[in-house]
Amino acid sequence: MRVLLMGNPNVGKSVVFSRLTGVHVMSSNYPGTTVGYTEGQMKVGTETAEVIDVPGTYTLDPTCEAEEVALHMLELGDVVVNVADATNLERNLYLTLQLLEREIPVVVALNLWDDTHHRGIHVDLDRMREELGVPVIPTVAVSGEGIKELVEAIPEAVAGKHPARSRDERWAAVGRILESAQVVGHRHHTFLERLGDATVQPLPGALFAIGILAGSFALIRLVGESLISYVMDPLYNALWMPLVEAVSGALGGQGVLHALLIGRVAGGVIDPVESFGLLSSGVYVPLAMVLPYIVGFYLVLGLLEDVGYLPRLAVLLDSAMHRIGLHGYAIIPTLLGLGCNVPAVLATRILESRRERFIAATLVVVAVPCAALQAVIVGLVGDFGFKYVLMVYGTLVLVWLILGSILNRLMKGFSPELLIEIPRYRWPILTPVLTKLWARVLGFLREALPIFFAAILAINLMYLGGIFDALARFTAPVVTRLLGLPADSVVALAVGFLRKDVAMGLLAPLAMTAEQYVIAGVVLAMFFPCVATFAVLVRELGAKDTARASLVMLVSALSVGGILNAIL
């Protein structure tokens, strides 16, 4: 049996899914968190059923790619669990009625049920069951209330046997049902609602956004730096370093194995960043240098997501983003890209047109550095002064804006307008925020660490084999003349295709000037995305558009690098 979870965006389908299957999936307080589908398993009676978390859709007449996915999934299911927002049945029941007009058995879950009480909404469940003709179960997915009843109701699901209706007839039917099954009382605005309204007003909204942005950066830095100086560095120095030194001693301080495991020793010191051995830099850079910032970034992003701030930011930035061929909602993939470009490229699916998706994805891979790369850039460039870090970020923001407006002008067509639901603010709940953070951190460790180790291993082997010397000689004219970087740095640019943080780390022993580090950081960020991002890019845009995006990358990275070299 295959159970489909379907409903409007942002009604908590993913939370219901996690409750039913025990599989954690990303959930946030904005429409479009789920753009692909997730499968899991659950027990229905004695049978094991497959459960699919379908992207949110307002209607079965699809208006964007995520909704097309939803419609396509409907043909594959045996039962639909229609998750509806109990506090906004006027809109949610439209999809419910569309589902009930089909052959497929349906159970309706009225989620966010606890909210109906504080919002003065009374729903007559018996009346609702009678009108819809299928089981209707009130649920509070975040606390698990009603989930057991929902599972028990799945075998009782029946097809709706509703007549096929036209759009207007369906809306009229929704109105009729609610007239008899729902009473809405009057009630005063809460603090969160007033705050919600204020943050979409032009001036208070802009001030609030600046505050949020500044607060976010401060919090990310605080978390990152505290983890580094109070947890990771002491741990590395006290526990791991002696081990590395012991291994180095046992290996006699030289030889091929020593070069691979420990790396280069300068002045009797095994530098955790510069030595570049598997056991030294291979452990220190990802775990003590990058991971703390990943934790900081995803904690802040998770909070902003769950509170429901991001769609308001989209409204605020909409006019500005139209200048670069996108609408405000494209800020969501962009922010995700500051964590990792892979989910960012996937998230471009919330945008309606192919043109927008191309622009958004290209801008992400070219001008949005991932958290891992940023951590190493800040670590290396920051040593010379904050001014240089600002130069890197300032350049990338300019590139994002200029490249966006160029693409907007060059590409045919125009971008559609913003049309989104603005969710209510919700107080973040600790457990889901931490679960999500944990899932993302684990995802980073699982996906990044193996490639990280492989990259370091490959680099050391290639060094030993003299391959990089040849590569450096071959590309020297471009790298030294155009970019003003030492010939050795070409190695880093090549390695950037595997992992950008490793690549940036490779630059550490090169003793470059602050300006050179700035150029290298910018070029690395803009140059080819890492292999994981490249793979999703091909999948999302297709080979032809990926080739076009790559051309854009190459040309813009080299020209921006050249310009920086000329002016710095």
Binding site: Y58, V315, S319, G328, L418, I420, E421
Partner: protein, 94 residues
């Protein structure tokens, strides 16, 4: 006192109290009477609860042709400026 006069001056094509959503003040209520501009737009808006016969309250509009945010059925929807300009509301309702 000259309210009706000024409104007529500015939007001579509109009758009485029917204005586009964009010209509502924040906090002002109106009854949607018409959505001009094609079936597809109408459907996308309707899916979000914005359709003729619905009462809306304007929450805000952004500067420089930014989106208009309205509240309809206790939910808020942000609508791009040009779309909002094609949604006509009757502001004479109580």
């Amino acid at each position: 006192m000259f309210g009706w006069f000024r409104r007529d001056k500015r939007r001579p094509d509109l009758e009485g109290d029917i204005v586009p959503l964009t010209s509502l003040r924040p906090g002002q209520r109106g009854l949607i009477v018409d959505v001009k501009g094609g079936r597809r737009l109408g459907e996308r808006l309707a899916a979000l609860g914005v359709r003729p016969g619905k009462k809306v309250t304007k929450v805000s509009s952004m500067l420089l042709g930014g989106p208009v945010t309205v509240e309809v059925d206790r939910a808020q929807v942000a609508i791009g400026h040009h779309m909002a300009a094609r949604i006509f509301v009757d502001v004479s309702i109580k």
